[in-house]
């Protein structure tokens, strides 16, 4: 129990996540060198491609972080993402992207209402809404989105390159800047942390916690919708189930980035690193052609291992 040297406890997860990312790169490069004699992992083009793919996850995770900071969780990401993509492509034309984002708007408001006003546990309300969205998509499209091809604008955002860097990456960075600004420089950000720490005390301090929680869910749903629109651009079309693989990695990224799962603590830079880490881990496992069984085990072990190293979570002694 002595003073922590130089490193602030807040920075520890960042440093560890960063270190771990380097370790992954080294191991992966070692592997490719020994098997094929190449080192794609260190090529800018490969890294760019990974980050381009990672940007969809990154955007989802940014939104998820807002919700986790309030002490809630958003399980409706998969079908929010899918619905936004499917609606966007079926509207088409210049209104495609606004239409997709407005799906996010609606989902966020409903989630916010259910969690903050009705006070249904977010775990279960967002799960229910996810099921409803899936039902809506199954029912509405009957399997065939009337029009499922992405518009040129979506294609541009997801696939084009600007100065050799994928535009999707710029979108991710823009989202990151917005979220960082929100969290550190606005009253909304402060209120978010306060609400996540102790909603009762925050409410009694005159913070409109219902609005704050709703805002967080809105942010999450908008991010998911944006990711959906981009993903549809990347795949050139929208399809059922495109969001299925974004929920758990988003949560894992947020947590690996040092955000406390019960809310109130965490920094955006951590989430960003968490996403990079997960994306690289995934791509290395797939380069190694790791069978699914080991993939799952490694995935689990990495999360546990890193959190153990963070050594967070104070024992309650009071």
């Amino acid at each position: 129990m002595t003073t922590m040297p130089q490193i602030r406890p807040d920075d520890r997860p960042l440093l560890i996540a960063f270190g771990f990312t380097l370790v992954i790169l080294v191991i992966g490069t070692g592997y490719t060198l020994s098997t094929t004699g190449t080192m794609p992992l260190l090529q800018p083009s490969y890294l760019m491609q990974q980050l381009q793919i990672g940007s969809f996850l990154g955007i989802c995770a940014a939104g998820m972080m807002l919700v986790i900071l309030t002490g809630h969780i958003d399980l409706s990401i998969p079908w929010t993402l899918t619905s936004a993509a499917m609606v966007a492509t079926s509207v088409g034309g210049p209104w495609a992207i606004p239409a997709g984002l407005s799906v996010g708007l609606c989902v966020g408001l409903v989630n916010g209402f259910g969690v903050s006003v009705l006070r249904v546990p977010s775990m279960i309300f967002t799960l229910g809404l996810d099921t409803v969205l899936r039902g809506l998509m199954v029912a509405r499209t009957g399997g065939f989105a009337p029009q499922d091809t992405a518009t040129p604008a979506m294609l541009y955002l997801a696939k084009a390159k600007l100065l050799g860097v994928p535009v999707a990456l710029f979108v991710w960075i823009a989202v990151s800047l917005v979220v960082t600004f929100l969290l550190t420089r606005t009253t909304f950000g402060r209120a978010l942390y306060a609400t996540g720490t102790k909603e009762r005390a925050a409410w009694l301090s005159g913070i409109r916690t219902r609005a704050v929680v709703t805002g967080a869910f809105l942010g999450s749903a908008l991010c998911a919708a944006l990711a959906g629109v981009l993903l549809a651009g990347y795949s050139a079309k929208a399809y059922q189930g495109m969001g299925n693989s974004y929920l758990l990695p988003a949560i894992a990224a947020v947590v690996l980035g040092g955000t406390h799962i019960l809310g109130g603590r965490g920094r955006y830079a951590g989430t960003f690193l968490g996403v990079v880490l997960i994306v690289l881990l995934n791509s290395i496992l797939s380069i190694m052609q790791m069978p699914e069984a080991f993939r799952q085990i490694i995935y689990g072990a990495v999360i546990i291992g890193m959190l153990l190293i963070y050594g967070r979570g104070t024992r309650v002694s009071e």
Binding site: T3, T187, F188, R190, A194, K198, L204, S205, I207
Partner: protein
């Protein structure tokens, strides 16, 4: 008392993240005595008893029980050694029944399983000993009032057959009658050879109860002496290192006519408020008295917009109605602030930094268009810390690292930042040391003089007498008495609290 001390600490030191909470403490207490531990907020009293009761482990030093060294690995070990602690924050489980709570650690068993019937019988017995026959052993603790809970806590402690009984500000929420019960109990226990360690900021309680006193200051054991060896003034000087002359600032002369800041007419809510009418004048400190749970808390909450479904008319300032949420209350034409009684869950966000807590209510004051101005924020925080003389290493530290008194100051600082017109206070000095209390009272008077209105509930009659311009006493959700000036006396308040006259004012 020349025998082996029942608990003895030698050269104990502990620090938290570099902050020394206790250093080089030698302390001993003996069987058959009631031993007071005194000190200002943050002196290290709670830390001391947490060490004795096994909650915290000292960094250095040893603990001996009955002369033999022990190393507790948790409260359970200490309980095995006969050390039973009533913490300042209650240690009852709200979702378990009273009986479950009372026998939580060593329940009576049958066939290896908890015997519910025996448990209830045992609980009834213990409750009878603390004169709380009105509490149903099957009731959930969460349904009890704070004072009943404290009494259940006492029953629970008794049920453990303590050799050493520690009460850390355990009487802070108790009514007079219960306090008397506890006095009686402690006397009985002393006769049985139990050592009681008693922490309180109420000198008269210490006076009435204890035979020995130990004073702590800045994490150090200053002195231990028998009752009567020192005068009150000397004790206070030992505690805070200076003289405290007058506890309360002088009251201004009584003014008959004040412009009303808040007017209540027949305010009703559920079965807790049964038609409260009163007027709070500008620049007035209006005290609320009465036994615990007579609607005082509800009255304050109602004015702060927490309660729904209130009836009756409320006029705030000139013509505003009742706020519907704390946010409305805070941002209305007449700003209202509430200092809640439970600062750990209602007043503070414990793991957030001191700075974040201080600005929590006034975020828009340090921001323009929702964007925070770091310069203004820092200035505001510094101002708040300075104004209330909060003892803190850095504003970036979590509030939970502050001692209770300083935590309370953070709550006050938070609300002063919105420059409220009406301040509602629910027992703001609970667990606060004399020095700080004095500061708080002085601040209240200054605020009043600036034209702010204060509605102030206290469980301590002395505070009402010393501080309020006017006192109303609530009984069963009604105002039964209104006292002004010289008429504010302990007798008058007690009589009104018990509704002895049976009349409704």
């Amino acid at each position: 008392m020349q025998n082996v001390p029942i608990v003895e600490l030698s050269d104990v030191a502990i620090s938290f993240a570099g902050v020394k909470a206790l250093a080089g403490v030698d302390f001993a207490c003996h069987a058959g005595s009631t031993h007071a531990i005194l000190g200002e907020n943050g002196a290290g009293k709670s830390t001391l008893i947490k060490i004795i009761s096994g909650v915290l482990k000292p960094d250095t030093g040893t603990i001996a029980v009955n002369g033999s060294k022990v190393g507790f690995s948790g409260p359970a070990d200490a309980a095995d050694a006969g050390i039973v602690c009533m913490f300042q924050e209650l240690s009852l489980i709200p979702d378990l029944s009273v009986a479950d709570n009372v026998s939580i650690l060593r329940p009576p068993r049958r066939f290896g399983l908890i015997d519910r019937r025996a448990q209830i019988a045992r609980t009834e017995e213990l409750l009878a000993r603390v004169r709380c026959e009105d509490v149903d052993p099957r009731a959930m603790v969460r349904d009890l009032s704070l004072s009943r809970r404290q009494m259940v806590e006492v029953a629970k402690a008794l049920g453990r057959d303590p050799k050493v009984l520690i009460l850390d500000e355990a009487t802070s929420a108790l009514t007079q009658r219960d306090v008397e019960t506890i006095y009686g109990l402690l006397d009985e226990l002393r006769a049985d050879g139990v050592c009681s360690l008693f922490i309180s900021h109420r000198m008269h309680e210490v006076e009435a109860l204890c035979d020995r006193l130990s004073v702590f200051r800045n994490g150090q054991h200053v002195e231990t002496f028998a009752k009567g060896e020192r005068s009150d003034a000397e004790i206070v000087r030992l505690m805070i290192g200076r003289d405290v002359t007058a506890k309360f600032p002088p009251k201004p002369p009584i003014r008959a006519e004040r412009a009303p800041a808040v007017r209540l007419d027949d305010l009703r809510w559920e079965d807790r408020l049964k038609g409260v009418s009163l007027t709070l004048g500008k620049g007035e400190i209006l005290g609320i008295g009465g036994l615990d749970g007579q609607g005082q808390k509800e009255l304050l909450l109602a004015l702060f917009g927490v309660l729904k479904g209130t009836k009756g008319t409320v006029t705030v300032g000139d013509g505003d109605g009742l706020a519907t949420s704390p946010h409305r209350a805070k941002t209305g034409k007449n700003r209202i602030a509430l200092i809640p009684d439970d600062r750990k869950t209602e007043g503070l966000m414990l793991s957030l930094s001191i700075a974040d807590n201080i600005v929590a209510a006034a975020l828009d004051k340090v921001a323009s268009g929702g964007v925070i101005d770091p310069g203004r924020l820092d200035a505001a925080v510094r101002d708040g810390i300075a104004r209330l003389q909060i003892k803190a290493g850095s504003p970036a530290h979590a509030v939970r690292t502050l001692s209770g008194g300083n935590q309370q100051k953070v709550v006050l600082a938070k609300w002063l930042m919105i420059a409220p017109d009406v301040i509602l206070m629910n027992d703001p000095t609970r667990g606060i040391d004399v020095g700080t209390k004095q500061e708080i009272f002085r601040m209240m008077r200054t605020l009043a003089d600036e034209g702010k209105s204060i509605l102030f509930y206290s469980s301590d009659y002395a505070e009402l007498i010393g501080c309020a311009d006017r006192v109303i006493v609530l009984y069963d959700g009604r105002v039964v008495s209104e006292l002004t000036g010289e008429a504010i006396t302990e007798e008058a308040i007690v009589a009104a609290s018990l509704n002895l006259k049976g009349e409704v004012a």
